[in-house]
């Protein structure tokens, strides 16, 4: 097969090559570097897949709003006076200015500063201009209203938009991922919440490198040895298991390109896995939380929620990693070699103050630009992107690990990336199949 691989394939579907008989899976490096590929991704993937916009807890009260970029658009995500959730395209129907310029707030109406067109928070045009300025037709058909995104649906407080009016339902799209969102959403009866404003940063690498990296257990020890050294030094590394499912080592394809890896946690989890560095006084509290989960869900599921770490990718660009903390992370390409990342910490609403603090510290120790691990992931991705300068001679990535394995894939195989790439290939190859 290798001799048949053209270093610079021209067809999009030809950029992913799978040979099941020979256990080979290859992805053309051009898929990470080419402007034309990104253009096709915009129309075949980001215009047609369900994209995460925000969490219910970010707009708790009626008339709360936030603004953020999603799928290359600028959106307003808000709750109207009746509490109904909306996602609007943040552009004035008059002459195009972004109507809302704050990042977040609470408002009874939105007003475009350019010419003063105003809108109710349900999107309806609300200005009262004197007669003679506009004809009766002007207000017809919603032409003067804020435009809603074509589709807005939610699952367990996670809200998604879709710019394809004919897309399948969010529920169908999420498919097997719903079970794993449940494992996060069920962690407390009070519900989960986003803590603070989150982190926004830039990585000079193709967005698909972060999709791969976020669910890649293969790189864990080579890249993150200094993080594990740190855990060991401070007494936060606890490999022994008690009655945990320490043997969990799986990877599950969740359909539609989504995948999850699971593994026994070497670290503490504020939702109910104690480590010695937290001190004896927290031990009892964590044990109570753990018993509460077991009571609510039974031994197996309760301990699974408490103990097991999970990294999940929801195609194309949502990561929910329930690890030493929970990160909700989405990313969008600005260019083939550059993406903007938004990452938030998710925690239990009404959580014990000390556990909340541990959750935040757990997060920033590993995750984020100042952590002991994520910067090294960024270095790896940016290093790959630079390595792709050699693609005319060395044109293909190898994603074959675990293909000959008999039985279910392991979490440090690469089957979860193959799930992503098969979906990518199918959506890039067949416009009509996308989103249906």
């Amino acid at each position: 097969m290798d001799t048949l691989l053209n270093p610079l394939p021209h067809s999009l579907s030809g950029m992913v090559v799978e040979d099941r008989d020979r256990h080979l899976f290859r992805v053309a490096r051009r898929a990470f570097t080419d402007d034309a590929v990104l253009e096709e991704e915009r129309s075949n993937i980001f215009d047609r897949c369900w994209l995460y916009v925000g969490h219910s807890s970010e707009i708790t009260n009626n008339c709360d709003f936030i603004t953020r970029p999603v799928g290359g658009r600028e959106l307003i995500f808000n709750r109207d006076r009746a509490g109904v959730v909306h996602a609007f395209l943040n552009t004035c129907p008059h002459r195009g200015s972004m109507v809302v310029r704050e990042k977040k707030g609470n408002a009874l109406a939105f007003r475009c500063f350019y010419h003063g067109w105003s809108f109710n928070v349900n999107g309806r045009f609300a200005s009262r201009f004197d007669e003679g300025n506009y004809g009766k037709e002007h207000y017809g058909g919603g032409c003067a209203d804020l435009a809603q995104v074509p589709r807005l649906e939610s699952y367990r407080d996670f809200w998604f938009v879709n710019f394809d009016r004919n897309a399948m339902s969010l529920s169908d799209y999420l498919a097997g991922a719903k079970e794993y969102i449940d494992l996060v959403a069920d962690q407390t009866e009070a519900g989960m919440e986003i803590v603070g404003a989150g982190q926004q940063y830039v990585i000079n690498a193709n967005w698909k490198l972060l999709a791969e990296n976020s669910i890649d257990a293969f790189h864990g020890f080579p890249v993150h040895s200094t993080y594990f050294d740190y855990l060991k030094n401070i007494g936060s590394l606890r490999m022994e298991s008690g009655n945990s499912d320490f043997t969990a080592r799986g990877m599950t394809s969740l359909g539609n390109g989504h995948a999850v890896i699971e593994y026994a946690s070497p670290w503490g989890r504020p939702i109910a896995r104690w480590v010695p560095s937290w001190g004896e006084e927290k031990r009892e509290l964590v044990e109570r939380l753990r018993q509460g989960l077991v009571q609510r869900f039974g031994q197996e599921r309760g301990i699974r929620i408490a103990e097991t770490s999970r990294n999940m990718l929801i195609f194309p660009n949502l990561v929910i990693n329930d690890i030493m903390a929970i990160t909700v992370r989405t990313f969008m390409p600005d260019a083939p070699n550059r993406m903007t990342v938004s990452a938030w910490a998710l925690g239990a609403r009404g959580e014990d103050e000390e556990l909340r603090k541990l959750r935040l510290f757990n997060f920033l120790e590993f995750l984020g630009p100042g952590g002991f691990a994520t910067p090294d992931d960024q270095e790896a991705m940016e290093n790959c992107q630079r390595g792709y300068k050699n693609l005319r001679e060395v044109g293909w990535n190898d994603i074959s690990k675990g293909m000959p394995r008999v039985g279910p894939p392991m979490n440090d195989d690469e089957e979860q990336m193959r799930c992503f790439w098969r979906q990518w290939r199918d959506r890039m190859a067949d416009r009509t199949a996308g989103g249906k």
Partner: protein, 173 residues
């Protein structure tokens, strides 16, 4: 003249050289970081000291117990941060970046029992492989001037960027 300037002036009257000595102290700190002498830099901190970088944004998130900071190091985590940065396996700083720390607008905002509260504007440049990252904002220090040598009890670096354009925060800004 505003109130802060008046306060600073008042302290300066008690000890005319204080701000100059604090500036020298901060220049020493910056110089150690410029030269990657980070273990000596860490030795400038008092036991129990903290080092923090709050999230970018409107400045309203000021407590690491309730907001997600970029960095919220207690003394132990700061020591571990330095230990990590000395290793080749801290991949994001291997090979090491070059840095230059600029300090200005140093002001003494308070003085209690020999402990000075100090603010300073900063710009820190980090260069690696043809990319220059710029971090800028305000340092807020608590410096114990009653011990010899002086020790930093707290350093908080408040970024003025509206997002973290460089992507990483692997060096000490």
């Amino acid at each position: 003249m505003n109130a802060d300037a008046g306060l600073s002036h008042g302290l300066a009257k008690d000890d005319p050289g204080l701000r100059a000595r604090i500036e020298d102290f901060l220049y020493l700190e910056a110089g150690l970081l410029d030269e990657w002498r980070i273990e000596e830099w860490f030795a400038m901190f008092a036991e129990g000291a903290t080092y923090e970088v709050p999230p970018t944004g409107d400045g309203s998130e000021t407590d690491p117990a309730t907001s997600l900071f970029y960095i919220a190091d207690d003394y132990v985590r700061l020591r571990e941060r330095i230990t990590r940065l000395t290793k080749k396996e801290a991949h994001s700083e291997f090979p090491r970046s070059r840095q230059r720390h600029m300090i200005s607008n140093v002001r003494i905002t308070g003085m209690t029992g020999g402990v000075a509260d100090v603010t300073a504007n900063f710009v820190t440049y980090r260069a690696k492989r043809g990319v220059v990252d710029t971090y800028y904002g305000k340092h807020v220090y608590r410096i114990d001037c009653a011990v010899q040598p002086w020790k930093i009890k707290a350093k908080r670096s408040i970024l003025d960027m509206d997002m973290l354009y460089p992507g990483k925060l692997t060096i000490i800004i």
